[in-house]
Symmetry: C2
Subunit: 485 residues, 2 copies
Amino acid sequence: MASSTSKCSYLRVMKRRMGHILVKLGFCLVLLSMNYTVNAQEGYTDDDALFIKSLFDKSLSSDQAYLWLEHLSENIGGRLSGSSNAAKAVQYTKMVMDTLNLSRTWLQNCQVPVWQRGEKEEVKIIKSPSGKKIKLNACALGYSGATNSKGIQALVIEVKSLEELEKLPADFVKGKIVFFNRPMSRTELRTFQAYGGAVDQRVFGPQKAMRKGAVAALIRSMTTQIDEYPHTGTTQFDDNETPIPAISISTRDAELLSKEIRMGSVQVFLKCACRRLPDAASHNVIGEIKGSSYPNEIMVLGGHLDSWDLGGGAHDDGAGCVQSIDVLRLFKEVGYQPKHTIRAIMYMNEENGLAGGKAYGEYAKNSTEKHIVALESDAGGFTPRGISCEGDDAVFLKRFKKMNAWNDLLEPYDMRITKGGSGADISTLKPLGTFMMGLRPDSQRYFDYHHTSRDRISSVNQRELALGTALIASVIYLIDKYGLE
Amino acid sequence: MASSTSKCSYLRVMKRRMGHILVKLGFCLVLLSMNYTVNAQEGYTDDDALFIKSLFDKSLSSDQAYLWLEHLSENIGGRLSGSSNAAKAVQYTKMVMDTLNLSRTWLQNCQVPVWQRGEKEEVKIIKSPSGKKIKLNACALGYSGATNSKGIQALVIEVKSLEELEKLPADFVKGKIVFFNRPMSRTELRTFQAYGGAVDQRVFGPQKAMRKGAVAALIRSMTTQIDEYPHTGTTQFDDNETPIPAISISTRDAELLSKEIRMGSVQVFLKCACRRLPDAASHNVIGEIKGSSYPNEIMVLGGHLDSWDLGGGAHDDGAGCVQSIDVLRLFKEVGYQPKHTIRAIMYMNEENGLAGGKAYGEYAKNSTEKHIVALESDAGGFTPRGISCEGDDAVFLKRFKKMNAWNDLLEPYDMRITKGGSGADISTLKPLGTFMMGLRPDSQRYFDYHHTSRDRISSVNQRELALGTALIASVIYLIDKYGLE
């Protein structure tokens, strides 16, 4: 495209919401007359529109969050709970917040499970109808068990669901490798729904296969794309079980393996060296701006600092961490003093345990503080489409209605407040009556990167990340100013 | 993020728009009772919601448009007007449309200007206050003149605008290289607006500098990012002028050059071998599904087939081409027979002349056909945020209002119909009273790739591209069914 024009919808909304006289005098005058306030019953003033514009301008103009994320993703790298990288990330984000002249920063203890991948996994088709011997792109799932140093080989049986496995006779499954191969739906607009519709295979499949006597499980990677990248993620075994190897293979290789199985019997060799170590001490990293009027009323912003080990944890969830910190930086920079305490929390261990979320939830439950709202960003650093609010009861609906009035203010940014999910880390605040929210970024690309070696800074766009920061700051500002009651 | 849930807003909107009884009987019944039609005065029926869902499902499930685009971008490559690649792209897209069992496909002649980059450009700082000798990442602009084989060297003066250059005395400019260095604004939410606010330097700067006696012009690349990629694009000289070298440098190098200039005098060496050749014959590529009721009333879908030579022209504008073709494929696949003729046009020469747009406009003016609507996709293959409609007069507003009623149907996809620009290629239909529309994708990443070596298939996401196809198909379907009057 060589050029394009379009109306500035920011101005349009501002004008629509102003008195006739001011509109006639022109927009410049408005900028000089900031005491002018329209129709308070609509739930906001024109000052709010300008303040929000200033947050977006500041955020879009700054590389700060992107640079923090680059350090987390590239200089530190993957940050699985209990790893030295996770410890480095704790120190780094604490240090970053210490430079922001916040009211307080601190570390909160939590005990995290420790699982290590060990040497690179090997998965090979060694006997197949086509005669091909093929190495598959594979990675062990979190909590996968190990093989011995010689590896194992066995026949593979393919199923499309837990139910299908359930129906197979145990003596048919015994000694075999169970291959879960139901694809994520491509037709769900929101890819998280497609993920939700397939991920039971990864979370519960290996355990169920083991209990039927399988010697290992292979899982089709959780992505709608057909590509060569294996996606890791957590799988579930009970503490008293010795886990079998549970290994994810790329969607391209899943298609290939399935094709061979359709033609006849297939033997696979696999080897992995995963191990579980004793739990270790780790931390949530917390910083806050103390509220001027209600210091004891807390607004939590969160992301999780731990990530899978394969990539740099850029979208998942370095993005949510740096956005949370950057909201505090923005408020300091524009000189906004909140009435309530705004607290950014880098949670530890979302990926394989939620230890940080539980530790903070325990703290909150026993604290005299009141946690009024919590907002998590854990769906990637992509262009935000809005904020989703979680709930259904009458109290929720009243608050949600109040927030909906602010959609006018977000319309110029093509964003809106909707119902939907919030986040795993903050979920422990839900029983306390906290109003739960999540950043809702465009989800189309998320599962191209999620839990893979590709989740690096190169897959993040500085503007998209910055828009998320600005949106979170805007909504937190409005709640701080007007409350939800 | 480990998991997430949210309500299916598609179901929500469907339910909202249905009678109470059906809602109580549950959604499944609705699927069995497709003759049920709600409140025709709202401008659509529930069948429309289901039909649109089927278009999105088909499009998201298909790699077809992505594979066509991969061929255009990677196997053919950059397709500057008059090049052999442009000719290959004409043959390829004609061949693709010939496989779709359309009513008709054909080539439309047009004469295109031919400009060639020649050997790789060289730009070096050879004398600077810091003493550094630095090679700059550079590319000539379209229609740039050449140096001789020895290159030229001259002092550099920096300006931030055409006006600033205008004010400089001609004898100060004479013999020097003028460096235009006003950045694109980072705070514009819509990056095309930021582009519009800076691109005058590229389009008019070199000519104005030449007319004041400059020996060459350097232009800061058109992107909000600070990176190492030079962005090409067209610049303007009159036919009776001998163009000076007009060269774009990366934003990183523009910052560096500017820093040196702030410290003292800077000499730059540059060499380029661009040349203008005689105009050549080329083509628009056209395919259509004939309308059953109004074959003489035409709905144009368009993109442009030519691209700059540096990358693969994936987003600009291979995406718009394959989306336009894919809308026809989708309609054939779901068995939709339009009442009006739907015509996909791959325009030639948008980037440096608009010869294809002019040729088609001339044809349309002299034809007995009536061009009722035209919709161009030329803003990249990113997640679409909606369709923008161009106009202001009373007739436009009446039609726009009718289209607005369809926003309910697009809400489940987070898309909407707004006012805004349409497209350069179709602009020649505007004088005929054609209703003008443009696909409006998320614009945050566009200028990371625009007119650079990075505009390749690897920067395109299959789902984002497919959503654009589905949205165009949906809006074209609604207009075909209900008209705009």
